[in-house]
Amino acid sequence: MKKAIATALIAALTGIGAYAEDLAIGAPAPEFTLTDTKGVSHDLSDFKGKFVVLEWVNHGCPFVVKHYSGGNMQGLQKEFTDKGVVWLSVCSSAEGKQGYMSNDEWNAAIAEKGIASTATLIDEDGTVGKLYNAKVTPHMYIINPEGNLIYQGAIDDKKSTDAEDIATSENYVRSALNAALAGEPVATSVTQPYGCSVKYK
């Protein structure tokens, strides 16, 4: 802990971007508070007792487009929110960078694309993104009802921008959620995420 504080201090003083640690599977997912596109504030702890999916999103990123253009991501959101899972899309794009949208633009996009997540949270200063060490869009996390992280990484195993690959890929998020909902251990709980870098400030 002392070491972490010292590292952070040195980084802050010298202006060097500190390397963020990846979260540990099984450890409590860090608490955060963010406001959604409708102006409602959410704490992660509001959702204790439910599975929570965090999806880092940027609709200008071709990897995100891959999963939204054919409705793959929306389908996944619907499938699991119907089963009582809380799905939070998080946008950490800074204002003026790709993927950033005003609340009105977001709500229009949600309606137009049929986005079915529980809420879309705006993290324009990137605090929560960096807290979770979200590297890319889409970067996916799953938190269990006890508030512990049970999956982090890619959405599926086909690293590409080609929507045609979706049909033949294994969706890690679906596999993990289905296992966890059935009370079984998650077979693959860490994968290397792929996508565009998160457009931090």
Binding site: Y19, G26, P62, K130, K135, G195, C196, S197, K199
Partner: protein, 704 residues
């Protein structure tokens, strides 16, 4: 005739024009596919290049794209019998986007591919079609693609195209070299990959060095790479990426040094493939017994580890700190011998279950602690004063019980820890449990390997290894309880048992002394006084129990006696636990033993002195035995002096991060660990965990 010749010349001219597919610009990158030859020959491999010209600040990606991105792909459609090799990637550049780091190319780059035509090629021209796709990013990312067809005539020998010579020369200069005069060694710890680079004699000093790991998901690309000069060697510590996948056997990377590490200094990059090794591969350890613990190489087959863990578990029974419990348990077997063999067997099983469950709890705790990032290893429960106080009180009271000061009432039988329990499943279960608790500080030989391995592995594997350890530890009990024939060889119960019980009480008291001594290293003297007072209260409590909580008394007196007795014991516990004041730990150095620090070690090694390091802890009984019977003997000290060996003492009694890191560096999670550096740059020798004077002397004799 003339016309035919003209026509054929025209055809050749057309073909020549068709050799190159025109450049394609898609958004911010211009791609062009080109062959090094203007004509190919059957069976003769030739090179093609995908030239990518990026607009300013735009980039495409290397095979390991780092934190984000996508490597460029070429999908070939080739005539029958043709094969295309993999992309030969040029040396990448760093593309920092704090807090992220990606790897790729800006400016102009060439990706080379070798194509091999079939030996029995009969066609006069061939079409090589390629669909190329890439991801280009500046701030934002865009996918790009292009389709090319190279049409090449077939000749008897290949014809080099002079018009492409510049491109291919530039392409090859950008490739990482494979020849070098440097040598490399790599080993992995739980959190890092340590690469040691040894320069050739007379090499100029390196101004900088960066390691591009070739495989994604091995090294955290955004983490800083720390370079340490270690004599002539350079040590680079690379942070490992969090991953569930096992490490490959070989670390592959491209090194970019200033000046270049390649033999051909015009190449900036150097390709390396270094097998991961154990920290102690430099020399074989002197004793045969050392072989299992010394070769703590990181990727081990799970089967080997499970067998080692099982054997380690059996050997745990022989360790000094398990002795009191094993003796008591054998006493229990004597009592059970008169019973139904089936019952005895079931007791054995329940005992094994107790061992198993306690190992699982321990594994769960270790995994949870590791997850929270605490650098704590084996034996950690004896770094907690509260745990030490509780254990010493329990043992003290148990000793009084064995001396016959009081007998356990029925209400206490299931409270746990009643190791002398004659019957009852919970007694068997908890004695299994207790055996484990006491055993953990003694890391038997073999166990270092299993533990180090388990803690670097996913939880499922870690649990498997702990299960094997537990089964090994329970094995002798299972054997005895399954084959009561062996039990019959034990003496028949009788008056001698009472004597034996009392003797066992002294063993328990000895354990109390040891626990107290461990505690003394951790806490202030006030706390120690409080613990002694707690023994007094517990003694009074036990005496009250023995005097009034007996069957000869009326039940109301018994009830009061029991309450008062237990109250005193509780008061004792409260007194001790309520007065825990941690003391700063003073390492036990002095004389020729200096306190360990990585800086001191580096300084001594820089002087070229041999160094011996004693990684130890007060709570580690094996360490103490080694220290008193071997290391601190006058004979050994003289041997160290004769060879000018510097002696470092690394005391891990508290949860010291620096020492934990150094242990991890040697692939260990626990003490004892004995390391001998020979004064050269070579990797150190690791001595076995149970030392003899001969082992140490032999190791010293191998120094030159």
């Amino acid at each position: 005739m003339m016309i035919r010749k003209l026509l054929s010349m025209c055809a050749l001219l057309l073909l020549a024009l068709g050799i190159e597919a025109a450049p394609v610009k898609d958004k911010h990158v211009t791609a062009e596919l080109m062959a090094e030859v203007s004509a190919i020959a059957p069976g003769q491999p030739f090179w093609v290049a995908l030239k990518l010209i990026h607009e300013e600040h735009w980039h495409t990606y290397w095979i390991n794209d780092g934190d984000s991105g996508l490597p460029t792909k070429i999908r070939w459609t080739l005539p029958e019998g043709f094969t295309a090799g993999p992309i030969i990637w040029p040396t990448p550049q760093r593309l920092p986007m704090p807090p992220l780091m990606s790897y790729g190319y800006e400016g102009t780059t060439w990706l080379l591919v070798e194509i091999t035509p079939p030996a029995d090629l009969t066609a006069t021209t061939v079409d090589l079609a390629a669909n190329v796709s890439w991801l280009m990013c500046k701030e934002i990312c865009l996918p790009g693609k292009a389709a090319f067809t190279l049409t090449l005539p077939v000749n008897t020998t290949p014809v080099i195209d002079p018009g492409r010579a510049d491109d291919f020369r530039a392409a090859r200069v950008n490739l990482p070299a494979t020849e070098t005069d440097w040598t490399f060694a790599a080993h992995a710890t739980q959190t890092s990959i340590e690469l040691t680079a040894t320069p050739p004699a007379g090499a100029p000093a390196l101004a900088s060095l960066y390691v591009f790991a070739r495989e994604k998901g091995i090294v955290a690309s955004a983490a800083e790479q720390t370079l340490v000069r270690d004599g002539a060697n350079i040590r680079i510590s690379l942070k490992r990426e969090v991953s569930e996948d096992p490490l490959p056997d070989t670390f592959t990377a491209v090194l970019v040094g200033e000046p270049s590490l390649a033999r051909d200094a015009s190449r900036t990059g150097l390709d390396i493939a270094v097998p991961f090794s154990a920290p102690a591969t430099g020399k074989a350890a002197p004793a045969a017994a050392a072989s299992t613990s010394a070769n703590a190489s990181v990727p081990r087959s799970l089967g080997f580890i499970i067998v080692s863990a099982f054997l380690g578990g059996i050997i745990l029974n022989l360790m000094p700190c398990v002795f009191p419990v094993i003796s008591l348990k054998i006493l229990g077997f004597v009592n059970q011998a008169g019973e139904n063999p089936r019952t005895v067997w079931h007791h054995g099983l329940v005992f094994a279950a107790g061992v198993l469950v306690s190992f699982w709890i321990l594994a769960g705790l270790l995994i949870a602690l590791r997850a929270t990032g605490a650098g704590i290893g084996w034996g950690f429960q004896l770094q907690s004063p509260a745990a030490l106080i509780t254990l010493s009180l329990v043992f003290f009271v148990l000793a009084l019980n064995l001396f016959g000061i009081f007998e356990f009432g029925l209400s206490l039988t299931s409270a746990g820890g009643s190791v002398t329990q004659k019957q009852g499943w919970s007694g068997s279960f908890f004695s299994g449990f207790l055996a484990t608790v006491i055993a953990t500080p003694c890391t038997a030989p073999f166990m270092g390997v299993a533990l180090g391995y388990a803690l670097t592995q996913p939880p499922v594997v870690a649990f498997t290894v702990f299960t094997a350890l537990a089964l090994g530890m329970a094995f002798p009990y299972l054997l005895l309880s399954r084959y009561p024939a062996l039990l019959k060889k034990l003496p028949r119960p009788g008056a001698w048992m009472e004597t034996m019980k009392q003797v066992m009480g002294f063993f328990l008291l000895a354990t109390v002394v040891w626990l107290f001594w461990v505690l003394s290293a951790l806490v202030h003297s006030i706390t120690l006084t409080a613990v002694l007072a707690a023994f007094l209260f517990a003694g009074i409590g036990a005496w009250v129990l023995g005097k009034w909580d007996v069957l000869s008394r009326p039940s109301h007196q018994r009830w009061i006696g029991r309450s008062v007795g237990l109250l005193f014991i509780a008061l004792g516990a409260a007194t001790a636990l309520g007065n825990v004041h941690r003391a700063a730990n003073e390492p036990e150095t002095g004389g020729e033993w200096e306190a360990f620090s990585p800086e001191r070690l580096a300084a001594l090694r820089a002087e070229g002195r041999p160094v011996f390091i004693d990684f130890t802890a007060k709570w580690c009984l094996t360490c103490q035995v080694n220290k008193l019977t071997v290391l601190r003997t006058e004979e050994m000290m003289q041997a160290f002096r004769d060879r000018g060996v510097a002696l470092l003492y690394a005391d891990w009694t508290d949860e010291n991060e620096v020492i934990a890191a150094e242990l991890a560096h040697h692939g260990r999670q626990s003490v004892p660990l004995y390391v001998l550096y020979d004064g050269t740059a070579a990797e150190p020798v690791i001595l076995p965990e149970l030392l003899t004077r001969k082992i140490v002397t032999d190791a010293l004799n191998s120094l030159n």
